[in-house]
Assembly symmetry: C2
Homo-oligomer: 89 residues x 2
DNA sequence: GCTTTATTTAGATGTTTCTCTAATTAGAGT
DNA sequence: ACTCTAATTAGAGAAACATCTAAATAAAGC
């Protein structure tokens, strides 16, 4: 979906906090939802945006969906930001 | 205005391109507008968001407004992204 | 196969975003 | 003061976003 979707996904504080939670290891949708004062459907929409941007990957374990961070796309975003700053790119 | 406004500002491709143009040196509002197929009022709105986020600073020279990049806020955004990835933060 | 648990998709609503045209402000020069 | 140039603010419309409740899907266990 491209770098556009990545920066779009990063623009919402809830989604950045989701990524921060996943930094320490994979978590299920329900475990993630427990950290927010939002309904599960609302969180599910945020998960979708993160997945569309490929910032997270999802894997099913039984009835649960386990989300985990995709660091390589985070690096792409980092590179994108760096390129706004460094003359050589 | 905080890191929120910064990521919000970075979420639009036109605004990221504005920053990329300013990377090589300050430009006036009109010079920047010349790089886009958008009206000047539209660009002006984008300039405002970048200024609110303090990603750019503006200075008047005669009738022109000169925009230039604020690299320190870009670094804050970089740090914010890094903190989503590194365990130690 | 029915029930339970986990999560998502669908539909609705209010808010925000992006873009345009038209009108306004600000400074410079005559 | 008037005019010209540069850029902005104001107002309007369409599209996208964030959130909720209610309904649907998927896997597991009895």
């Amino acid at each position: 979906m491209g770098i556009n979707a990545v920066f779009e996904a990063l623009s919402h504080p809830v989604r950045r906090r989701i990524l921060a939670l996943l930094k320490d290891g994979p978590l299920s949708a329900g475990e993630l939802a427990g950290h927010f004062d939002l309904t599960k459907p609302t969180l599910s929409v945020h998960f979708n945006k993160l997945r569309d941007a490929e910032l997270v990957a999802v894997e099913r374990r039984g009835t649960s969906l386990i989300y985990h961070l995709n660091t390589s796309i985070l690096e792409e975003a980092l590179a994108g930001l760096l390129s706004l700053k460094d003359p050589e790119t």
